[in-house]
Structures are given as C-alpha cells and as structure tokens.
C-alpha cells in the first residue's frame, strides 16, 4: 500500500494519466496488505483517483477489446463485460470480488438494464483478474458509484449495436427498430429477432462510443430487489470459497 501511495503522490505532482493507471493496476494487485497504515485523507485521495483512473483504464469502447474473439465470430463481445452467443447464451461478467455485499448481483443488474434483457435470460460469471476491467477490489462502498456509468454504457452500447444489426438485416432505418427483453422488434410489422440471431451481425459492427442511456424512469432491473445469483449454490454447499480451492499439485503445510 505504501508503494501505491507513493505512486499516487507522483501522479498528483505530474498530473499524468499513465501514472494514474499504474497506480490503479497496483491497487488491484496490492490492496489490503497494510491497510492499517492508510489514513482517511489518503483513502479519499486514493478513491477519487480510483474513479478517474477507472474511466481511463477500462478502455470500454476500445476496438481492440471489441475484436477480442476473432476465432469465435458467432460471439458478440462488444466489451469485456458481456458476451452474447449465437447459441442464445447471454453472459454478464461481474468485475469485483463478492464478499457478501451483493456486488456479483448488483453490477450485472446495471449492465442487464441497459442491455435490455430479462433478468432470467442472463447468466452471471465472476470476471477473471484482468486490467481491462479496471480496478477490481472490494472496500470503501464505492463499487456501484464508480462503475455505474461505465457499466450502463457497456450495456447500452451492446443494445444499440444489436438494434443496428437488426436494422441492417431488415434494411430499415434505426428508428424503426427497438430492443425489448432480448429481442429487437420492428415497429411497422412487430416482427422480431432474438439477440442470439443478431449476435454474429452485431459482432461485425463498430463499437458504439456514446450510446444513449435509458431515462431512470424506464428502469426495470436497477432498483429492483433481486435474490443473490449464487443463492442456490450457497444453500446446497456447492459455492466455492478460498478454503475449497484445490489447484493441481497443491500441498498442505501445517505451521
């Protein structure tokens, strides 16, 4: 943690975004080891930099991320946060560690809302550790606040691209199409296409950089109480905790 604070001090002096990013990646790796040494003032500095760094380092709309799966053209993956397969599987990744605060359910709610799907249509997966997700940590009660806009954009960008894919397929204008619960409809006839049917076509489009977000009053998933995504695993004893992990070749030592 000392190392991070040193970096933060440097980045404040130089106002350099690259140092901020370095600090962010260190935050993801080093957090927590000597947290007692951090005072409130430093914490606030760290948190405010964390949110600024997040926007820079995520690279949400970076085309390199959009074309992350050249060998799987039937998967639409407009950002690291979600995948839509032509097999109908919609996967949303939850970037932060779940420690009982409910983040594995609530972060995907934000994406699902803007993606315009029914909650029952998606599967939530824990994201791996990867710089493209930005900072990945728990602590400070800032997870929703700092990720809200980014995740909404991730969902909305995907939705707009699916609508665009449909409009091209039907050869009608964008405003003649709309998305609802995993389908894109055409206004004139009511005909519809599933997101799965549009996945391949959408994957060939440029990633939307400034998607239009939903007005708050149209929210159907954000603000709703949704049971924890791992509840079934937890109540059947199948949820895996650190203690349950057994990597190949692991030995046990007693001290």
């Amino acid at each position: 943690m000392k190392k991070i604070l040193t970096l933060l001090t440097n980045s404040e002096e130089k106002k350099g975004s690259s140092l901020t990013n370095t600090a962010m990646s260190n935050l993801g790796i080093d957090n927590g080891s000597t947290s007692a040494e951090i005072n409130r003032r430093d914490f606030l500095k760290l948190s405010s930099l964390a949110s600024a760094g997040l926007m820079l380092s995520i690279g949400l709309l970076d085309s390199k991320i959009a074309k992350a799966s050249p060998d799987a053209p039937a998967t639409f993956e407009p950002s690291v946060f979600l995948r839509i397969g032509s097999d109908g599987k919609i996967t949303i990744l939850s970037k932060n560690p779940e420690i009982g605060q409910g983040i594995k359910t609530s972060l995907p709610q934000i994406i699902a809302e803007e993606l315009e799907v029914d909650w029952t249509q998606i599967e939530v997966q824990q994201a791996p550790l990867d710089n493209r997700f930005g900072a990945q940590f728990a602590g400070g009660s800032t997870g929703i606040k700092t990720n809200f806009d980014t995740l909404r954009k991730a969902g909305a960008a995907a939705r707009e691209m699916l609508v665009e894919a449909a409009s091209r397929k039907w050869n009608i204008s964008l405003d003649q199409c709309y998305a609802e619960k995993g389908f894109v409809y055409r206004k004139d006839s009511g005909a519809k296409l599933t997101y799965a049917e549009l996945a391949e076509r959408a994957s060939q489009l440029n990633v939307r950089e400034n998607p239009v977000l939903k007005p708050f009053k149209e929210f159907k998933i954000i603000g709703r109480e949704i049971p924890g995504v791992d509840n079934l695993k937890i109540v059947t004893g199948k949820a895996e905790f650190g203690l349950d992990a057994k990597p190949k070749g692991m030995l046990v030592a007693v001290i």
Binding site: I99, G100, D230, N231, I234, A239, F241
Partner: protein, 154 residues
C-alpha cells in the same frame, strides 16, 4: 491409525484415521464433501455443523472415533436445494457471503426435525451456536418461520 466405517448421507465409507481426527477433516479432506465449512475449529462458530442421528453437531470438534450412527451433511440434506429450509433460504434471499450458511441451514433443519413449530425462544436457542459475520440473523429467523409454516400446510 485405525479403521472406521461411517454412514454418511446413506452411503457407507471406510476410512483410515487417528481416533482423534475431527469428523470435519474426514468429510472435507478424505471424502471431498466440501459443503461443510471450517470456521474456528473449536465449536464456537457453527460453520461446520452437520447432523449425527438428526442432532446438530459441530464436526470440527467431534472425533471420528466417537461417531455412532448416521451422519448427514449438506450434500445429503437434499441434492438439489429442495429441502424446505433451503427453499425458504432462497425465497427470503438469506445468504450474503454464504460461508456460514450451510452450518446455519443444518442447525435450522435439525431444529425443525425435532420441533416443526418452534417458538422464537426455540429458534434463538437452537441457532445461538451459529454466527454470521455478514449479520443475516433477521432473515435467518424469518426463513426458519417460513419453512415451519410451509411444513404445517403440507
């Protein structure tokens, strides 16, 4: 080392272990039944709760040589989460991090096995040995009552 034959979740297992080996170690390390958790190792937290002949016991402190009868773990309570207590737990969205919940569920199931209509005092007594760092106690109590109410109807 000695040989012990244990009846766990209606299956018979024969294992080699020192007589003072805790049942929890046998469950997790020998039989790979990892639903039961290690918490404190001294019967103070309830994370390791299993049933022996329908009674809630702390498997971290029960020597394998002392077991006489039928052991039930979360894997044997129901394979698919269909036990009324598990159902109530999901309906009321009880779990947070989830680490203690298997122990909580086993204690609650043992209570309802003996007292299908427990009073608040019965619940407090039966659940007093299970602690939850997330603080899910109020939902746990509601869920036990919900499971009891459902049992009454069926």
């Amino acid at each position: 080392m000695a040989s012990y034959t244990l009846l766990i979740n209606n299956n018979s297992f024969t294992i080699e272990a020192d007589p003072d080996t805790p049942l929890l170690w046998v469950l997790r390390d020998e039989l790979e039944l990892k639903g039961t958790k290690f918490g404190c190792g001294k019967a103070q937290c309830g994370a390791c709760t299993v049933h022996v002949n329908g009674n809630a016991v702390r498997s971290c402190s029960l020597p394998v040589s002392a077991i006489k009868g039928k052991v039930t773990t979360i894997e044997g309570l129901s394979p698919d989460g269909s036990h009324p207590v598990q159902q109530a737990w999901m309906e009321l969205d009880v779990p947070q991090c989830g680490y203690c919940q298997v122990g909580q569920i086993m204690s609650a199931a043992a209570l309802l096995g003996k007292k299908p209509k427990p009073t608040d005092a019965d619940i407090d007594t039966a659940m007093s040995g299970n602690i939850c760092r997330c603080g899910t106690y109020t939902r746990i109590k509601k869920a036990i009552k919900a499971a009891a109410a459902k049992g009454e109807k069926s």
